[in-house]
Amino acid sequence: MLTILFDGIAYGMLLFILAVGLAVTMGLMNFINLAHGAFAMAGGYITVLLMQHAGVPFLVCLPIAFVGTALLGALLEGTLYRRMYSKPHLDQVLFSIGLTFMAVASADYFIGSTQQIVQLPDYLKGRTEFFDGALGMGHYRLFIIVVCAALTIGLQYILARTRFGSRLRAAVDDQRVAAGLGINVNVVFLSTFAVGSGLAGLGGALGAEVLGLDPTFPLKFMIYFLIVVAVGGTTSITGPLLAALLLGIADVAGKYYVPKLGAFIVYSLMIVILIWRPQGLFSRAGGK
């Protein structure tokens, strides 16, 4: 069904935007940041609060969510995360889980635990039908696909064509040599972490409508982000993109065609893929 394919692609692209920051951070800084979901939640809440209390239009909220979360990410990176790079993975996991707990509880305390509702502007509501109903495209999902596709192209351009991108790729491949070449690794880390968190925030803002937004958001969706990163690998961004699309389509199609199996499909698929290709489905050779 074309509609199911369309929905799956929309879901996948959303997951990609949410998870790409995590993939790059892990590949670059070898840091398992389980608090990534908290940044997404922050972006979602920034949007919702601005819309509900300040009447800011939805489209304006999106870049604000991005910038706001990016700043938050930069702040945390400089003060807290930087001290954690040399620590063992377990400590990093503990640290990021601790941050997530604090974020979840704070959201609960300040904002309340009910599901937040985003009122979309009218031109984003509604649906267009093609082929006599065989393909129905919800306008909002179309919007998501367009925005995420644009971001993906933008990211790929930055990585492949700009000097910053080449510095980033160098630092991912081998940090020590890159530093030895005079690349300011600290600045690369800071900006990458900020952008990655900003993207997560944007994803959270976009996803509030589709995935729902409440204080338990980071915990609920963290596993999906991790699946995207694990299957997609951390050495490129096309890897997570394809992994996210695969996950999105498999999830949606599975629930439509075989609803009895539902969640089984995603987990089994992931386990099988990871056993077959432990470095992820799409990693380059030579990367971590």
Partner: protein, 321 residues
């Protein structure tokens, strides 16, 4: 000191170890109102011990250890309900089932990076949860498995309302496994595990059969986790889906890391600290206790566990790395 003496020293009983165990066993007598908490801590400590085997001693990161915990619990509960309510027989069944599952799953953790293993183990636990939900004619689904009435331990000690029998039962089983595992990790076998953790390539180079060691220890750890799960089902008379949930595995990892990996007491210390903190903080602020736990974790990791225990170092300048 030559090698043999230092190794013997490392495996000798420290004086505080038996003292702590004595205190643990005395607890249900000293604070009878909290026997239930004691039994809960004992069970979770055993669970943490099993995770320490793979995480601390062998370096296998797992976010799905609750899979074995849960399956042990359901096995024991179903056994008591349908076959025989004897607790010890139930524990053996729980251990057998969990060990079997562990053997099968050990095939999945052989390859890949930390992240891969994290995801695979998590995936297995979630799959089991879905399965338990699906087979609700057997497991009671999301409502949980009811009607588990346990017979008396060894035919004499009934499970009472105050929980003292449960506490002593859990502590005894815990002590037994502690002794067994202590023997295991202090043996040459245990030494090979630590070698694999520290540098797998080098371990392979000196002829340690890495894959078979991994399989064996994972299976053993699964079995012990199954025992812990069985204990929980038997002492609470209940089994439900959230035994498999990510929260259980994640909490467990937290406890272990709080206490410190790689020395068996880490799991026990972490379990005690975490559970007591949970109990105390959530009675003060039932809604927001996760915030304080999160804060504690962040501070713990930033300051460093060793320094946390020595307050005079808190404000000293750190040496250059």
């Amino acid at each position: 000191m030559d090698a043999r003496t230092s190794l013997l020293n490392a495996s000798r009983w420290r004086p505080w170890e038996p003292a702590l165990w004595l205190l643990a066993f005395a607890a249900p007598l000293l604070v009878p109102g909290h026997s239930l908490l004691v039994s809960e801590i004992a069970i979770v400590a055993l669970f943490a011990l099993s995770l320490d085997l793979i995480l601390g001693y062998t370096g296998i990161v797992s976010l799905g250890h609750a899979a074995f915990f849960g399956i042990g619990a359901y096995a024991a509960a179903l056994f008591a309900k349908h076959v025989m309510p004897d607790p010890l027989a139930g524990l053996l069944v729980a251990m057998a089932v969990a060990t079997a599952l562990g053997a099968v799953c050990s095939l999945t953790i052989m390859r890949g990076s930390d992240l891969t293993r994290l995801m695979v183990t998590l995936g297995v636990a979630l799959l089991l949860m879905e399965l338990a939900n699906r087979l609700d004619w057997l497991t009671g689904g999301a409502d949980g498995l009811q009607g588990v009435v346990m017979g008396p331990v060894l035919g004499r000690f009934e499970f009472d309302l105050t929980g003292q029998t449960a506490a002593w039962y859990a502590l005894s089983v815990g002590l037994l496994f502690f002794l067994l595992l202590r023997r295991l990790v202090r043996s040459p076998f245990g030494a090979t595990l630590m070698a694999i953790r520290d540098n797998r390539l080098r371990a392979m180079a000196i002829g340690i059969p890495v894959h078979s060691r991994l399989a064996v220890i994972y299976t053993v750890a699964a079995g012990v986790a199954g025992v812990a799960g069985g204990l929980l089902a038997q002492t609470t008379g209940f089994a439900s889906l959230d035994l498999f949930a990510l929260d259980r595995s994640a909490d467990l990892m937290l406890m272990l890391v709080i206490g410190g990996t790689g020395w068996l007491w880490g799991g026990i210390a972490g379990a005690i600290v975490f559970k007591l903190m949970h109990n105390v903080i959530s009675s003060i602020t039932p809604q927001y206790w996760t915030f304080w736990i999160g804060l504690f974790l962040v501070v713990l990791v930033l300051v460093g566990r060793d320094r946390l225990l020595r307050p005079w170092t808190w404000f000293a300048k750190t040496k250059a790395p």
